[in-house]
Symmetry: C2
Subunit: 198 residues, 2 copies
């Protein structure tokens, strides 16, 4: 039926390319766009094109920044310029920022090394990170995800950084509020072997 | 952090209004739109605005149709004009169409009666359905969902149609390929009480 309505088919085809839209939800999203106010759709398109136009990545830390403005992290005088937290994507950066517990700089890699997906170290901003290693930098926190890809990426970067700087990574253990009984055994093992003084 | 980048904040705010985008996925979708080809984003916006412009609902059956073209169901001479299948939304229509087992007309209600959500019979296209009840129509299939809302809607329409036409609804029972053991007891009960000759 959709193929007989070219405009609808075109909309569905374009929605299909958006990640994280399951095909069942796709039709519901198409319905939303077809039935909502004209103004909202117009605003959606404007916001999309404007973001495309105005948002670039900082040449230093690779975090999004507004074109013609300074990077909100690199140019912030209140941030500690001696420590860099390395994350895979800006989503992880957001998680860390919401804790309000870190006031240093960031470095967004743009993903993790994953040979199966054809992502090698040269596809990430590792070289840019190495150029940032001035004597001013005292510590690099490797805050990649606790996945095989994230850990491989952290190991790769740690090898490159060796001896030049203090390299640390996030603590592994039992999440706050959770139950030992429900945790997988590797997490319990890590929490046990990496135990801390009370 | 997002609030310091107005273009990005605007994009996220607009994405937030799209249904079926969990807030965690929202940032991934924003990343997709910020990193994909310019051409793709342009095409996406064009498709969206064109669909808004060209797709309207058929005044008779309330299914999407291209503006300036005839409804692909109402105007199809090969379709049986004596039977109308009533569905909640066009997604259900698509499910029925993929079976290739129905060649009659459709009627899209635009939802189901749900007092908790403030959706009453007057918000659905039930009146339009009643105006379609010419003597030519021999049967109405109530193919609303098997949810409390869907069944209430079917019951409401059935009461309105009473005595004027044959009213049927979809068979209830065990889905093909599934296991009695895994079914909920209401479905097993319905399958048993509405059993058919072998």
């Amino acid at each position: 039926m959709i193929n007989k309505l070219p405009s609808l088919a075109q909309l569905c085809k374009n929605l299909q390319q958006v990640p994280f839209l399951a095909s069942k939800n796709l039709y519901k999203v198409a319905t939303y766009f077809l039935t909502t106010d004209d103004e909202k759709v117009q605003r959606f398109c404007t916001a999309l094109l404007e973001a495309r136009n105005n948002i670039i990545t900082c040449s230093q830390c690779c975090v999004w920044q507004e074109k013609n403005k300074k990077c909100i992290f690199c140019s912030d005088p209140r941030r500690d310029k001696t420590i860099i937290c390395v994350v895979e994507t800006w989503q992880e950066l957001l998680s860390i920022e919401t804790t309000d517990g870190y006031k240093g700089l960031y470095h967004v890699l743009g993903g993790a090394i994953c040979p199966l997906d054809g992502i090698g170290p040269e596809d990430l901003s590792i070289d840019t990170l190495l150029t940032r290693l001035t004597p001013e930098i005292k510590e690099i926190i490797l805050a990649t995800n606790q996945t095989p890809e994230g850990e491989a990426t952290a190991a790769f970067i740690a090898r490159k950084l060796k001896n030049n700087v203090v390299v640390s990574c996030l603590a592994r253990g039992i999440p706050v509020g959770s139950n030992l009984e429900l945790m997988d055994k590797l997490t319990v093992y890590k929490a046990l072997s990496e135990r801390r003084p009370f």
